[in-house]
Symmetry: C2
Subunit: 615 residues, 2 copies
């Protein structure tokens, strides 16, 4: 395409953005129009992509970080021949693939779901890392950002990471249209303000008129030929460019243009230019897949091992068996034990420093390229990445997330380091799996099982040592549980997981000495939950006592309820959980203070039995 | 104190840090030792603070962003005469005020709980904003940061905010000891790397040898006399400074020094220097408190009003009645309706742009100074600040957080914009209150009630209009509910909140026409939950059907269970919630697709009644 055609293509993308939003009666045409020329030049001159083979290993990767500009993306798909005009006009309608914000679950050309701002660039950093350090098929990663979203700290985590890792295969294009949702951005059209920031983080910067196709073309060329640094192209644009009624005006965000027909006329009418997007180079398959079963660590009954240790060793073994496993950590690998993997497989280990959002985003990036990421930090600090986990679920990304130092059982460090909300957070994520092992053997098996799961898989590990209670032959299917104590005389069922399993067993022994038989269930699969076993226990014992090292809301107690919300009879329920605000104390003192140790369980069980609250 | 004494004071802080950690058997002495000289000079020469009157309006404010260096903080308290040596040695023990990471709930001199890195600076920005724009008593805010935590994006949100707001009353001191938890930081001792970044964000920067008390003193003086910009002091230090066995060595993070006695000797032995901290200037009381009841908006029955609109109007009225109310927003004030407040009370409105972590942190900062903050964004995007909310709860900070655009009911924008995990997140926060109004009248009352609550108060609002069903005289106590339909013939109870209340009412009407009476409860107080009303409904109707515009985990269904976890009989339960992954569609289509509209409720009720699952 010559420059005149590029200008025409930009106008076509604007026209189609206006038409799509008008058809939907909602959407973001003005945010699309500012970036139309940036998109036109990329599509026609610089992107290497086979729309018929989105999984092609040589394809460049494009991420629309400003996901609300979806009309522009879909208009580009139309220009590239990937969708037709009829589909374009299904935008935002029930059943359409063309959602308000793009998602890879519906469209094969979308790398990652966007729409929560400041996430596209961090994910793109992950893809670029995969490209540079693992895939090495030469693809470039292009990401189109808004200027408003540069206020998100996650953008600067990404900038730091990309600069430090010299990701010269990454180009960020910032559509500096100066207007956010409710008014002007902090820096307006001051491109230098943004350039200073990116430069400080080690990026090559290019400032450009975002409506000058020749200048844009040169900028993209400069980005592609820059080595040793990622490039950011800061493009001065006008929101709503080309339509007087909305151009560069406040109050025109996130709504169709007032008169679509007039706007289309003003933009020169409907066009039907077709772009021949350049083909990617031939490229090999990305990585060797699994090579057999991992040689997982085996533990002897009674061994005292922390589940975080077992995680580290099992992950290392998994990495040896499977070439597609990668590991990430937030600069706490000596605590989470990801460092075991890092030492054995340094080429597939990615240090993310203390930047949990970027860590999860990088994991999403790896997952888009077919890698199987395990990312770990303290359970408490994974709350930092909640929005990223939420969006990863919308993407359908396959992630293994591991939170160590669960609960008050960590002891002296105090509440800031205690994960006591993580089960609630991960259970509420769409399609998630939540696992919480109580011993090393179980941990190892679950670490391996996670690799083949779907969506977000969360593993909760503990800081302190606990005795191995399962033999190496034991299996722990996701969705299962283990009945550790059972008899015909059981008066109630104690449901525990992780550290409280050991407390429950001790309580059962103590109660047994007093002639009170209780059933004990290890609910290692918190989601999905083992309905059959819980229902049977409820039918047999009539009452369930849950005990968890977590706040009462959203954790094991609520998970148990999941088995009984289909209208069937519900057993009596008593819930022991962390209700106060812990301070510093030893692990044993913490469990006691929180009322979730063996003594507390036994006392609660006795009260229930002796006060004849139970039948 | 002369320079020699300052050096001695630094050594004393080191000695006491070593002793405290040795006594505890855990803790972070080496991270304390690197910053000891920085702390000594601050305490003796620059801080203005009355330890006997921590609430003094003229007091400077000190935040230990690297909260793990608590031994240093407590050693400084001892040197200032605030605690004695006996208490110092209770560090990290059960019942001690001296926790592993400092919290204001236990110690009156601590502004905010730290220990999750990258949070102290953002909160300090909030305090500095309060100081500069509202309190105006001339206090300075000093914050001691680690170098590792500069990888957190929240630090750069804070840097951007402080630079843009010209917070020259704020000084960040970065203890660049080059070693993180598991090894070297990205930039080691390259002070320039950090200086470039802060400069780009508009800060004045000073680089200094962090063990040269004279240079530190000059740097603090320079910070205090710099106008128009915040200052960052980048101090080159050695982790474990002064003790050969640990100084500048890897693997010495977060543990006592190997031989405490030897270390103390090497540091010159125990000292007992006492610092006379400079008194703050006389200062007026910070702000006028409440002036009577707010003139809340009133709505007529049947009016169609979005609860987000009612929030905006009620907050504005509250702001008129109470001089202590401030509002913050994440650049979506036109959507959340915080803009109504901004227009009426521009002096007490704080635009945080798209930086939800900084928004919540700033709210915490305002709360520390006695202001009553309301901070709003889309419910979905508040997940971005989860870790900040968690830490605010540990601080005991009084925050009002408002999440708009709840649930699939937003319609076409799709899943990235839908808050369907927010109830789970906020319910699991310690001591939280979770409110979810269904009409404008109820919203207005709840907005006013929140102001006087404790801890984290969350209000969930909706995008679309809904009919006003309550008269202006109706009251909505926190912890209450409203029984909207009841009769002696009720076959089951439908518990709803927010948008589903209206669906439940429509379903009840339809069922009533078929002779099936159902009770309907509006559970506007999701936490605490109205136990008595739920228990009575369960006893009368035997079955509860919950319906919520939220994922099934951690929301209204689980909240209802809270009423039944004391061993009492539990009713049968059926839960309607958002189980699939929504796409784009109209609000009505979304509710139907999710199975939470009136038709779905009626169908579920009919199935339960007709299949004789119910008695």
């Amino acid at each position: 395409m010559n420059n005149h055609q590029l200008v025409e293509l930009g106008q076509q993308l604007r026209v189609d953005s206006v038409r799509a939003a008008a058809s939907a009666g909602s959407g973001h045409p003005t945010s699309s129009m500012s970036a139309a020329d940036l998109m036109a030049v990329l599509l026609a001159r610089h992107l290497h992509y086979d729309f018929e083979r989105p999984a092609h290993p040589g394809n460049d990767r494009f991420v629309l970080s400003k996901g609300h500009a979806s009309p522009l993306l879909y208009s580009a798909y139309k220009a590239a021949g990937a969708i037709n005009d009829t589909e374009l006009l299904t935008f935002r309608k029930l059943g359409s693939r063309l959602e308000g914000h793009p998602t890879p679950q519906r469209l094969p050309w979308v790398e990652t779901a966007t729409g929560s701002l400041g996430q596209g660039l961090p994910v793109a950093v992950g893809i670029a890392l995969a490209g540079k350090r693992l895939d090495r098929t030469g693809y470039r990663v292009w990401v189109l950002c808004g200027d408003s979203e540069l206020a998100e700290g996650s953008v600067w985590e990404a900038a730091e990471h990309a600069g430090y890792e010299n990701l010269d295969n990454l180009t960020a294009i910032v559509d500096v249209n100066r207007l956010g949702q409710r008014g002007p951005t902090r820096h307006g059209h001051d491109l230098d303000a943004y350039a200073r920031r990116f430069k400080a983080f080690g990026w090559h910067t290019v400032e450009v008129d975002g409506h000058d196709v020749e200048a844009i073309d040169r900028a993209y060329g400069e980005a592609a030929s820059t080595t040793g640094q990622p490039t950011v192209i800061l493009a001065r644009t006008l929101k709503g460019k080309g339509v007087e009624a909305v151009q560069d005006r406040e109050g025109m965000h996130g709504k169709p243009v007032p008169d679509a027909d007039e706007a289309v006329a003003e933009l020169g009418g409907v066009r039907d230019l077709r772009v021949e997007v350049q083909a990617p180079p031939a490229a090999r398959v990305l990585h060797a897949v699994s090579s057999g079963r991992p040689d997982l660590p085996r533990y002897d009954l009674g061994d005292e091992v922390a589940t975080r240790d077992a995680y580290g060793h099992a992950l290392t073994a998994l990495g040896s068996a499977r070439g597609d496993v990668v590991a990430l950590d937030g600069e706490v690998g000596d605590s989470t034990r990801t460092e075991y993997f890092a030492k054995e497989h340094p080429d597939r280990y990615f240090e993310c420093y203390i930047a949990e959002q970027q860590m999860v985003a990088a994991a999403v990036g790896f997952a888009t390229r077919g890698w199987v990421p395990y990312a770990g930090s303290f359970a408490a600090f994974l709350t930092r990445a909640h929005d990223f986990v939420r969006m990863a679920a919308i993407s359908g990304a396959g992630l293994n997330l591991v939170g160590s130092h669960a609960g008050v059982a960590i002891g002296e460090d105090g509440p800031s380091q205690m994960g006591v909300e993580d089960l609630a957070m991960f259970r509420a994520v769409h399609g998630s799996t939540v696992l919480y092992p109580c011993d090393a053997q179980q941990t190892a098996k679950l670490v391996a099982a996670m690799a083949d799961g779907e969506g977000i898989r969360y593993l909760r590990t503990s800081r302190g040592k606990s005795p191995v209670i399962y033999g190496p032959g034991e299996e722990f299917p996701v969705g299962g549980s283990k009945v550790l104590r059972a008899s015909d005389e059981d008066r109630l069922t104690v449901v525990a997981a992780g550290v409280t399993v050991h407390e429950a067993l001790a309580a059962a022994d103590a109660l047994g000495r007093d002639g009170i038989a209780v059933r004990v269930i290890d609910l290692y699969s918190v989601k999905p939950v083992d309905r059959d076993t819980l229902v049977e226990a409820a039918e047999r014992t009539g009452c369930i006592l849950t005990v968890e090292d977590h706040h009462p809301e959203g954790g094991i107690g609520d998970a148990v309820l999941d088995a009984f919300t289909d209208g069937r009879p519900v057993p009596r329920l008593v819930r022991l959980a962390v209700r106060g605000m812990p301070g510093s104390a030893s692990p044993e003192e913490q469990l006691h203070e929180a009322g979730i140790d063996a003594d507390s369980i036994a006392a609660a069980a006795r009260m229930l039995v002796e006060q004849a609250i139970l039948p």
